[in-house]
């Protein structure tokens, strides 16, 4: 970076020609060193308050036997050493088994949801790369699910999934006759698919948005050259568009993964405080452990484990993709 230019800059500013150079230069120096930190100060204080301190407290209480009796004075809760962690990962006991189940459900849900969001978003963006009549309108329409507040969108889906007055059963059973009898969508095994549908409906426009932006960076000449060489549209998509999107996709998939994996709003509005077993995502599971059953210590231990997992996955993913990039270049 341009370190030298930066170092010179404040000196130029604080020393106009003919000025008394000695003391001014000194204040210039102090300012130069201190200024970035001064600018960062508000952010640092807030980061400390909303991220670092809570994280430290979270880690501390994961080693404590914290229940509702100690909420008013959590420092007084007895230490429990590694008990909370032992309970969380003891997959033969109910709590650990439920956590493992919830983790596996979350993984399956995340992989499917991210895959479908990526697929639909990419297809839509590729199909809409060329101009055609109504493209602008369609583009605006496609962004509506993304722009809608989560609770307003998801509550509409709750209504559609109602057993006796919802659209889904009406269409599948009454109109198309695909099912023998109306089904429950928000309890039981179907709830997984209900959650997946809502998540994809809400999430794919983000992939669409990012891929569209990525498409704009592909030089038109590539397509023209390919067309001259006789490549058809499908070949151009496969040979030019998709490979050019690689760097965009690497960021997109990571962001989609983290958002979907951490999503709380969608399952919470869809199912309430305790989700059905088949759709028991990890964030709602931890919420339930902490604020419904009041095992704060175990909830914290689960949070810490979740954090470790996310760090591992993100680190591994970044290492993999950056190595791939280095190889390609």
């Amino acid at each position: 970076m341009t370190t030298t230019a930066e170092a010179e800059r404040p000196a130029v500013r604080t020393s106009p020609p003919g000025a008394d150079r000695g003391p001014r230069r000194r204040t210039g120096r102090i300012r130069r060193v201190g200024l970035p930190y001064l600018l960062l100060l508000p952010a640092l204080l807030l980061e400390l308050l909303v991220h670092l301190v809570p994280m430290v407290i979270g880690i501390v209480i994961s080693f404590k036997e914290l229940t509702q009796f100690y909420v008013r004075d959590w420092g007084a809760a007895p230490w429990s050493a590694l008990d909370n962690y032992r309970v969380s990962v003891d997959f033969d006991a109910p709590a650990g088994e439920a956590l493992l189940h919830s983790f596996l459900v979350t993984i399956a849900f995340t992989v499917l949801s991210v895959g479908l969001c990526w697929l639909i978003g990419t297809a839509a963006a590729v199909f809409m790369q060329d101009t055609f009549r109504g493209r602008g309108l369609l583009r605006a329409l496609f962004l509506v699910p993304y722009a809608l507040p989560v609770y307003a969108a998801v509550i509409t889906w709750v209504f559609m999934f109602q057993y006796d007055n919802g659209l889904v059963n009406h269409v599948l059973h009454d109109q198309l006759g695909l099912t023998d009898k109306p089904s429950f969508w928000l309890i039981g095994d179907n709830s997984f698919f209900a959650l997946l549908t809502v998540s994809v409906w809400k999430g794919w426009p983000f992939a669409f948005l990012i891929v569209m932006a990525g498409l704009q960076n592909i030089p038109r000449e590539l397509y023209e050259a390919a067309a001259l060489d006789g490549a058809g549209v499908w070949q151009q998509v496969r040979r030019i568009t998709l490979p050019s999107l690689r760097p965009v996709n690497q960021v997109l998939v990571l962001v989609l993964f983290l958002w979907t994996f951490n999503d709380f709003n969608t399952p919470f509005v869809l199912f309430g405080r305790s989700a059905p077993e088949a759709a028991d995502l990890i964030s709602v599971h931890i919420y339930h452990a902490s604020f419904v059953t009041w095992y704060f210590g175990i909830g914290s231990a689960m949070s810490v484990l979740l954090l470790l997992f996310l760090l591992l996955v993100t680190g591994g993913y970044l290492a993999l993709t950056s190595r791939g990039r280095r190889k390609a270049s």
Binding site: V50, V144, W201, V233, N265
Partner: protein
């Protein structure tokens, strides 16, 4: 050269199906909000048996929707303003200066973005309860407390996106301003900020949208007087009836401002997301 028919047909079929998928819930929301209660408690109907605007009148009295609206507006608005203002300063420092700890700072900010909100919820809840007990300052259940928790997601995102945006403003511009006698803050506010207005709008829109749709913190950190729309909408279900027509009307009312704002400003948002994410 016109695309082949296989491409045109695939496109037509795909986009039609996708439009249906996107539009059906929107249709349900709009049409149900114009139905009498009998239409939404019995079998589903695609269209209202009679059009009524009654739900739009009743939503304001069934639950204190106006108050929830104001609460959401204050919480989302304040969180947006705070995070944008603070992010402008720190993004400028990161983008324009080299200093010790810069990497640590950016990595920390970046990584907090991937943490689930649930991780911060419980500790923040305990901190608020304890501060309340010790000092009598009620953060728990107050607007201030809610705004502070919203910064957990809006601040790192704003900083991250604005760094990308400030980096794309040529350095020559503010260096020229410094040479011409501006202070660093002068250069920031007279040159860098005006040049990065689209990015700042994008960050603000995004921060506002996320806070407006936030459910997790709102469901734990608010009480009767500070409840936001996210929690307040649940009030339309009583023991006897679920007023689906009113729920849909209220959902539409709370959605219109953000959707309209988003569609108006989405150009900036796309540009901002690209500067931050696609590079």
């Amino acid at each position: 050269m016109a695309p082949p028919r296989s491409f045109l047909w695939s496109r037509r079929i795909f986009l039609t199906l996708l439009t249906g998928f996107v539009l059906i819930p929107v249709h349900v929301m709009v049409s149900s909000s114009l139905k009498p209660l009998a239409d939404v408690t019995g079998k589903f109907r695609w269209l209202p048996s009679e059009l009524t605007i009654r739900p739009y009148i009743d939503i304001w009295s069934t639950v204190p929707l106006a108050r929830y609206f104001v609460n959401s507006l204050v919480a989302a608005g304040a969180a947006t303003v705070c995070s944008v203002v603070i992010a402008v300063f720190s993004a400028y420092a990161v983008s324009r200066y080299d200093f010790r700890g810069k990497r640590v700072f950016t990595v920390t900010v970046l990584s907090t973005q991937m943490f689930p909100g649930i991780l911060f919820l419980l500790p923040l809840f305990l901190i608020y309860v304890n501060i309340g007990n010790a000092t009598g300052i009620a953060l728990f259940g107050s607007r201030g407390g809610l705004i502070l928790t919203y910064l957990t997601f809006s601040l790192p995102f704003s900083i991250w996106m604005l760094i990308g945006y400030f980096d794309s403003v040529p350095r020559d511009l503010d260096e020229a301003a410094l040479v011409d006698g501006c202070g660093p803050l002068g250069a920031l506010f007279r040159v860098v900020v005006p040049a990065a207005v689209p990015g700042i709008i994008a960050v603000a829109v995004y921060a506002f949208m996320t806070a407006w749709g936030e459910v997790l913190f709102a469901s734990v950190m608010t009480d009767d007087t500070t409840r936001t729309l996210a929690v307040g909408l649940q009030g339309y279900s009583t023991l006897n009836d679920v007023y689906w027509n009113q729920i849909m009307a209220a959902s539409l009312v709370v959605s219109v401002p953000v959707v309209a704002g988003f569609l108006l400003l989405q150009r900036y948002l796309v540009a901002g997301l690209t500067a931050g994410a696609v590079k």
